[in-house]
Symmetry: none
DNA sequence: TATGAATGAGTTTTCATTCAT
DNA sequence: AATGAATGAAAACTCATTCAT
């Protein structure tokens, strides 16, 4: 069951990715140097270029690996025969759990990619859009089924839903909202309840 | 009808600010050079530094001048004796109109400041937080009055509300949502209806 | 006996020169801006260019006005029929008194001109050399008269003499030697006694 | 006879230092660009910053490496049981030889550091002072032993002595005094003879 | 005389990337 | 795979000087 004689080879790559998450989260992508990442990983910075063609590519990798997992989840949920509210709840749950599991990675993805309209955001626009579209599809379906109000454009609703969740994460990232197991769980319910049920009595 | 003998004095400063909005919006704050701003404004390089101590300060000025107008609006709305839904509607309306009036400025504020957790976002955190707090206050009050459900933490609800709006703007900025007078007006209603009334029938 | 209606005109020039002395002494010629001088003088910095063609010219003026007074003194002393030791004493006395009277001006002259081999020192080389030459002449004459030892090259001796004095001023400027009336008077005697009489018993 | 496999590693650093001496001496520290140094050394721009954190630090290194050698010499001399005149002669000899061996380095040290009251001189004040203090100590000791006159403050005498030597170097640097083996040797004797024996017969 | 807005050349420093070992 | 010396393009910022008023 040993990982074999070459087990360490790929380890360095992972080490670099994990170090990049910490450094990007701490200093921001632009404000950190490749050598900062290498230092954090405990390797020479030339090695970063052995595994990745550029600094950009490190961030791209980080983003794609995570975002694709989410897309996968959304697609799965989309295929299930459950109420729209439960679908949205599953998505909210996944995103909140992602933050709970690796807040630094989520911070990097949100701050450096998802919202970076002039750099990485644009690069990954199609990938990002796919998530919004899938959610919009769920909402549209629910409207057709008469579960959701028909007069709210599904694409706008999808953006509002996703924006609400992302802003909760932003609140945690900026230290504007309280964190902790309890809050994470409650946030999952809260955002769905707000969007689906509304704030009003 | 003359603007007076020294009308042109401050004009260059304004010219620079307006040029900065266009350039920051087009290229992003980091990706543009100070000379790009100067060129866009049609002034010499050094004049930017005559009016602003640094490139950062240009962005700070842009953000603060606009954000303070919004804070003013929120405070005013907060003081009025109107239903919570109308208060939130007024805020949503103001933000959407801000985008309609000067989409480039709003793009810059959202992309470069509001969401820049490691740079300007942190610098202006207290100013940004004030808006969230005011909105949370409105929601909390509505909860006390029995108009809003009491079991949704007001701070979280405020973040969700603000995040929903900002994400609509983000959708427009990224070209993910359709724009135009009709859509802007509809978006104002939609976001409030979603957050207050919920998506569900 | 009034200074007349245009008395103030030249005053500003003087004001600027005096301010320049303070600023150059405090910050160094290179480290200060023209506007620092203007601020110190309480005038707009454009006015500096009304009276002087350049920043350099301000320093040149400062140097020449003072150095020429010294040259005058040296020439006078040179023409008198007094012992060489008294001539040197008169020069030492003049330089020390110059420092006592306006230490900042002397600091500027020494630090920024006399010792600046690559900038002002070179510009004023001939003017500076004239002083050394005159002193060398005095010493040479004393050697011919059999008062001074004949085997010490007069030019080298002149440099040593001048260097000794200037280093005392440097000591005061750097805060390495004690200052005060008593010390100034004693320094005059000391430097001459050392150079002429020697340190040895 | 090979210098070893990695002999070249530190060579570039030395190359840069040597180039810096030439460029600083020729143009002056302020008047030259870092690229001038790099060009002179035949290396790329950035390599200077690979070895030194700043342009300033290059000069600091140059100064300290040389000045510390002199301090070492002075300390050694100070510990020997020889007449004060011989001690001073050893110091004068060392300084003159330093100039003879590398006139450009000595020019840089004197012009840019030793006499720069507002920049490097201040930075290295304590290091510079140590030399003066050691010399003053020697003179004070000679006074206690009755070899030197007791009424000349040792600190002032030390400054005069050092100033006399430095001014000879300044004379060479400015081209005011004749250079050459003979003159260098004679200068060593001359400055000591002047300071210790006096100019007078 | 006096002001300070306007100009723009010039310089240090940073850092992603390459490459010899 | 791993290292870090070497490269050089790029950009913020400074400040002497000009000039319209």
């Amino acid at each position: 069951m040993s990982a074999g004689p070459r087990a360490g080879a790929r380890d360095k790559r992972l080490l670099i990715l994990q170090a990049a998450v910490r450094v990007f989260a701490r200093q921001g992508f632009h404000a950190c140097r490749v050598s900062d990442v290498a230092d954090e990983a405990g390797v020479a910075y030339g090695l970063v270029y052995h595994y990745f063609p550029s600094k950009d590519e490190v961030l791209n990798t980080l983003f794609l690996e995570r975002w694709n997992v989410m897309l996968e989840l959304i697609r799965e949920v989309d295929g299930e025969a459950i109420p729209a509210r439960e679908k949205l709840a599953a998505i909210a749950s996944f995103i909140v759990d992602s933050y709970r599991h690796d807040p630094e990675l989520m911070k990097v993805i949100i701050v450096e990619v998802t919202r970076a309209a002039n750099s990485f955001g644009n690069t990954h626009l199609d990938t990002i859009r796919e998530a919004y579209d899938l959610i919009a599809g769920m909402i549209g379906q629910a409207q057709e089924q008469g579960v959701f109000k028909p007069d709210i454009d599904a694409r706008f609703a999808a953006m509002a839903f996703y924006g609400a969740i992302e802003q909760l994460l932003t609140g945690w990232i900026f230290g504007l909202l309280p964190q902790g197991e309890e809050h994470f769980e409650r946030a999952k319910w809260l955002v769905v309840e707000t969007i689906c049920g509304g704030l009003e009595e």
